[in-house]
């Protein structure tokens, strides 16, 4: 396989339902063997995008290519991709064996080969022995594994997963996440995973794409998306953050800027994408876990304020610090390090340049579109 053939290549892919733009024209490429997650709030267009790749929905314009082959016009049953549906969509009248064998029969696989293939696949998802059961006799997690086996047994080039763990409880979800990762490594094909749970996406994926209002706002490895969000929406969606309106004063070392907060007139150092102009307005994002109590040696910003609230969650203690020149700030410290903090106490907090990130004001501002098609003023 040549290097420039992508597992999936979406070009100007666009979908509208009447006046409602579900997916703004987007370009996206996914590599062979990648675990790619599409994340975003409900109604952001992630599922529509997935369905267009599967062939279950027709794009208004644009093309879908699978390993260089244009499948835009192909019906779902002629595409080398398979889907694991959110509600499993198992055939209730067929046994587990027949469910998994369904696609093999459609692909004219001989009866002699079907048996071993189904057995292998059921072993992979730890369901050996349940062949004769009906889907209704299985638990949610088991049904999900049947859905996975049913799609994987066809050896698709790309597996699409539409919020497959959405209906499962937390503990089951964690073990299914592990199973999915193991299976993905074992079969080595591209997984495209749609979820609204950013933690789930981050822990499993090689890359994530964040969608909002039909727009793909950022694509990148989880760490990059978390630490260098391309927009305020992305910053908020992928985790708690503090944001401060700032004006850029001057450019420091490459990728660092001197900024002044619009309110409170505090001057800080902040990291940001290259090319921000002096005088431009921006939003400074600071992750709560990047803020430490006390003065760092290389602090980019140092402030003091009053501890208004502490909340202990086990691994973390979250503090709300009010009355700083930048307003209220939220911090998160490792659980047992902050047992000495009391509310009302005045503390000094600081952070390093690396804990901050600038998002330009005019960053890809999603034009939020309501489901009824009306545009909402941002």
């Amino acid at each position: 396989m040549t290097d420039n053939v992508h597992a999936i290549r979406l070009s100007k892919l666009h979908r509208r339902f009447g006046d409602f733009v579900a997916v703004q024209p987007l370009d996206l490429e996914m590599e062979d063997g990648e675990f790619f997650s599409l994340i975003g709030p409900s109604g952001c267009g992630k599922t529509t995008t997935l369905r267009m790749i599967a062939g279950l929905d027709r794009p208004t314009s644009g093309t879908v290519e699978v390993f260089g082959q244009d499948v835009t016009e192909a019906p779902a049953y002629r595409r080398p991709v398979n889907t694991v549906f959110q509600n499993y969509a198992l055939f209730p009248h067929l046994s587990i064996f027949e469910n998994v064998a369904f696609g093999l029969k459609e692909h004219r696989v001989s009866r002699r080969e079907i048996g071993p293939k189904v057995a292998n696949m059921l072993e992979l998802v730890h369901l050996t022995g349940r062949e004769a059961d009906k889907p209704a006799q299985l638990s949610g997690g088991q049904q999900q594994r049947v859905a996975l086996a049913r799609a994987l047994v066809l050896e698709p080039k790309v597996l699409l997963l539409d919020e497959p763990l959405g209906a499962l409880d937390l503990k089951l979800r964690k073990s299914m996440q592990r199973l999915l990762r193991e299976i993905q490594r074992e079969v080595g094909i591209t997984f495209i995973y749609v979820t609204h749970d950013q933690e789930e996406a981050f822990s499993m994926s090689t890359r994530v794409g964040v969608m909002n209002g039909g727009i793909l706002e950022q694509v990148g490895p989880p760490k990059e998306v978390y630490r260098r969000p391309a927009s305020r929406f992305v910053a908020d969606f992928v985790g708690a953050s503090n944001h401060v309106a700032v004006t850029i004063l001057e450019t420091g070392r490459p990728g660092t800027y001197v900024v002044r907060s619009t309110e409170g007139e505090v001057t800080c150092l902040a990291a940001g994408p290259p090319g921000l102009a002096s005088g431009a307005a921006a939003e400074m994002i600071v992750r709560p876990e990047g803020i430490v109590r006390g003065e760092l040696e290389d602090s980019a910003c140092s402030l003091s304020g009053r501890v208004a609230e502490t909340s202990y969650s086990g691994p973390h203690t979250e503090l709300t610090i009010e009355g700083t020149p930048l307003g209220a700030l939220r911090t998160a410290e490792r659980g047992d390090e902050s047992t000495d903090v009391r509310t009302g106490e005045t503390v000094t907090v600081s952070w390093s340049v690396g804990a901050s990130w600038l998002v330009p004001e005019d960053a890809p501002a999603a034009s939020p579109v309501e489901p009824d098609g009306s545009h909402v003023a941002a």
């Binding site: 599967a54 062939g55 279950l56 019906p75 779902a76 049953y77 398979n82 889907t83 549906f85 509600n87 969509a89 198992l90 055939f91 209730p92 009248h93 369904f102 696609g103 459609e106 692909h107 009906k134 049913r150 799609a151 066809l154």
Partner: protein, 301 residues
């Protein structure tokens, strides 16, 4: 106070009853219902069965109960056998006609938005509000040699002269198909509506064309509706009386007409009762058989 647990499927489950006082008074409450039931359903049925073993004195026209099987042996007459055969054939044609024509309609309805579905259901039930007899008479004109169908086929050059459907078994089958159609469409619709789109999409995703999806997913899941629809159409159609009387013009008779004949014209109550009893017995055996198979298929699902 004793408490009984309400059960939805009272037929197969044993209600949990507690040993307590008040059992007798609770049974008393059932007396009116059981009384009506015995008076209006069981008593007439028993009378019918008793009559079927009696005889009519040809001279005095008096009913005599002499426990004879004479009436049942007359059923073997080829005249009645051929009527039974014709009834079954016509009912079968109507049932198949309803199924074949009604299935696409029910499937289409099941894939629509709920609001539109209500309009479609209403439009299917609307003809029921017009008198059944008037609707049946209307078919004489529709199927007649000067009716719209004949005119259309003539102008298309498909037939010359008459359509020739007047007072034929075919006219009866068409009339019954039209009349019973809603009874087929509604249970089919209920069964098909329960098939979620995601199953159809999953089948397509796994490589099944639309025709294959229909055969491997939709039809098996619609089976309870197909059973129900066929019973709802097939049973009354077999005993149909009015439609053959009107559209058959008295020439093509069905079993229901033969029974009616015995009571209304010939006055041979015992023979009419024997005809009716054997007809019911045959249907009961058939229904028990179908029900067994239906339960078996539901248990599988």
């Amino acid at each position: 106070m004793s408490v009984t647990t309400p059960r939805l499927s009272g037929l197969r489950s044993v209600p949990a009853r507690r040993k307590a006082g008040g059992g007798a008074s609770r049974h008393l409450l059932a007396v009116p219902a059981l009384g009506w039931w015995a008076l209006l359903f069981i008593a007439p049925l028993i009378l019918l069965i008793i009559y079927s073993f009696g005889q009519l004195d040809i001279i005095t026209f008096q009913f005599k109960l002499d426990w004879t099987l004479e009436n049942y042996s007359r059923l073997g007459n080829s005249l009645y056998l051929s009527t039974i055969g014709r009834s079954l054939l016509l009912a079968l044609s109507a049932t198949v006609g309803c199924l074949v024509l009604g299935f696409p309609v029910a499937y289409f309805m099941s894939r629509q938005a709920p609001g539109f579905q209500r309009i479609l259901i209403l439009s299917i039930l609307l003809p029921f509000w017009a008198s059944f007899v008037i609707r049946t008479y209307a078919w004489i004109d529709v199927l007649g040699d000067h009716g719209p169908i004949a005119d259309l086929l003539r102008s298309a050059g498909l037939i010359h002269g008459n359509l020739g459907l007047d007072y034929t078994p075919a006219a009866i089958a068409i009339g019954m198909t039209a009349t019973y159609m809603p009874l087929m469409i509604l249970p089919l619709f209920v069964a098909l509506e329960r098939v979620p789109d995601s199953l159809l999409q999953a089948a397509s995703d796994l490589g099944a064309s639309n025709a294959r999806t229909m055969r491997r997913v939709v039809l098996p899941l619609a089976k309870p509706g197909i059973y129900a629809g066929c019973l709802l159409v097939g049973i009354p159609a077999t005993g149909e009386y009015v439609i053959p009387a009107i559209l058959g013009g008295g020439k093509t008779l069905m079993f229901g007409n033969v029974i009616g004949e015995q009571f209304q014209n010939t006055g041979d109550y015992p023979f009419g009762a024997a005809l009716a009893t054997s007809f019911m017995a045959a249907l009961t055996v058939f229904l028990v058989f179908v029900r067994r198979r239906q339960v078996a298929s539901e248990v599988q699902i």
